[in-house]
């Protein structure tokens, strides 16, 4: 997936355009279908152990649940009408996002990436020795890297 800069207009309303192959489009949609991966209980409002059952902790979990429901709703719209996001022109495919959609997609992809990392047991990713591959964790490891690749491609637009 590759960012296509718009050289004429650079306002907040200028849509961001990414070129991708049909295979990348299918892979992106398959990855997004996994959302949400991260559990609402993953979030902690504070490192203070006394905050565990606090009203603030409950509020954070509720807030994350609402955010995920809203993201899921937008994803359902995307799956219902992918042609609103993906346009074909002269053989190439383009993903076209508004600023708000761009932020939403980044959050969704990061949820998938972090959720897969948690499922893998929160391994140190910079270690020379990669996490041991098993039949159970192979998919999580693959999805974590794929969602990271899509995030990097999206972030090219704001570099």
């Amino acid at each position: 997936m590759k960012f296509i800069p718009n050289l004429k207009v650079t306002t907040a309303e200028t849509p961001l355009v990414f070129q991708l192959s049909p295979g990348e489009e299918a892979l992106l949609l398959a990855t997004l279908r996994l959302y949400p991966v991260l559990d609402n209980g993953h979030h902690r409002i504070s490192k203070d152990p006394k905050s565990a059952g606090s009203a603030e902790q409950r509020l954070l979990e509720e807030s994350m649940a609402q955010l995920r429901a809203a993201h899921r709703h937008k994803l359902d719209e995307l799956f219902r009408a992918p042609q609103r996001f993906f346009k074909g022109a002269s053989g190439a495919r383009h993903l076209i996002l508004t600023g708000a959609q761009f932020e939403w997609l980044l959050q969704v992809l990061n949820d998938i990436r972090v959720g897969c990392w948690v499922r893998l047991g929160c391994p140190e990713l910079e270690d020379a020795r990669p996490p041991e591959l098993t039949r159970m964790n192979a998919r999580a490891l693959h999805t974590m890297h794929i969602s990271g690749q899509f995030q990097m491609a999206l972030l090219e637009a704001v570099k």
Partner: protein, 133 residues
Amino acid sequence: MTLEVPYPPILPPGGAFSGLARFGQSGYSPAMSKSAAPITVPDTEKEQQTRSKDQLDRGYLVICWNDPVNLMDYVTHVFQVVFGWPKARAQRHMLQVHQSGRSLLVRETFEKAEYYVHQLQGYGLNATMEREE
């Protein structure tokens, strides 16, 4: 081409409109009818009693903690969007998280600190609010 965060920062409660209140106090005086109804000053005592002095103090620290999974460019971008920081400042805090294990992002009131933590966690960052000792 460089695209510097094309959208405005996410503003905390009260933060976006405090300038308007100051504008009202700095001499702007629209024409007023003589027959206008008397102004009733709202009773603010109740509000003052519901929040302790501790909670109104800017004594809450929003801290971002290091983890090996969030991408460095992503963390920089999130700091820019959530706090409206320029890229250089966002990168400085991102590198502090990466190298020192954590970075103190802002010192705020309870309400604003909580708001920022919700925003940062919505992006999947490992951020918490801690009472300043």
